[in-house]
Amino acid sequence: TTTHPLLAQHRWKNYQGVMASTGRVLPLELIDKAIGSKVWILMKGQTEIVGTLQGFDDYVNLVLADAIEYTTVDGEIIRKDLNAEILLNGNHVAVLVPGGNGPEDSMAVAAS
């Protein structure tokens, strides 16, 4: 089984002698590692956002560059290139996928 590169980095840090009682990854650390790379955000409803993560705060409000907004209406995905740096309110952020490319990505094609 292949390990996701972001997880592998964390495990390597543990093996280098950094005191860690467990091999577990802190969620906010993983978000921190994703700064500078593309993230795919799934919101509470049917909205998704893809952008380059510039930073975040304790509430996981996000600053994303070159943001693209995807909304799903009746099974149709509507893509809107915002082409801007946005501040995304963390209130309705449900899932973050570091390195994710969005719903159009072939990896996200429905697999049963």
Binding site: H4, L6, L7, T22, R24, V25, L26, P27, L28, L30, I31, W40, L42, M43, K44, G45, Q46, V60, T72, D74, G75, G90, N91, H92, V93, A94, V95, L96, V97, P98, G99, G100, M107, A108, V109, A110, A111, S112
Partner: protein, 141 residues
């Protein structure tokens, strides 16, 4: 495996109650150890204890229900006290486009994800659930 005497109780909630009970036993043992070794209790430095021992589910497969109706399944790699989760090989269950409240067995792959604790409504072991016949239907007579 469901018993006739407890039709409304799903296997998932039973397993969760076992985990919670286990956690409480651990805390009682800790308190007993502290008492016997004559340590003074430090109420000021008391860390908030979760009622759900997620560290027992690390590297296990879990199913997460989110507030907006999203359902995910994946391998738990990490968490924090706010119940933010790190899920590996995560898949999202797809919903019927006509009926956003329905849930199908079709999934789409997400990969390594962070799930926000503020949006989590339920966590259960992936194989801790079984669909049973509706136990309430007989009451209509």
């Amino acid at each position: 495996q469901t018993t006739q005497s407890a039709p409304a109780t799903s296997i998932a909630s039973r397993e969760l109650r076992l985990l919670i009970f286990d956690n409480r036993l651990d805390k009682q043992r800790q308190r007993l150890n502290n008492m016997s070794s004559n340590k003074s209790g430090h109420p000021a430095s008391k860390k908030k204890e979760s009622i759900l021992a997620l560290d027992k589910m690390i590297d296990g497969k879990i199913r997460v229900k989110c507030l907006g109706g999203r359902e995910l399944k994946g391998t738990l790699r990490g968490f924090d006290e706010l119940v933010n989760l790190v899920l590996d090989d995560c898949e999202e269950f797809l919903r019927d486009p006509n009926d956003p409240n329905s849930i199908t067995d079709n999934t789409r792959k997400l990969g390594l994800v962070v799930c926000r604790g503020t949006q989590v409504s339920l966590i259960s072991p992936e194989d801790g659930m079984e669909e049973i016949a509706n136990p309430f239907l007989g009451d209509d007579e």
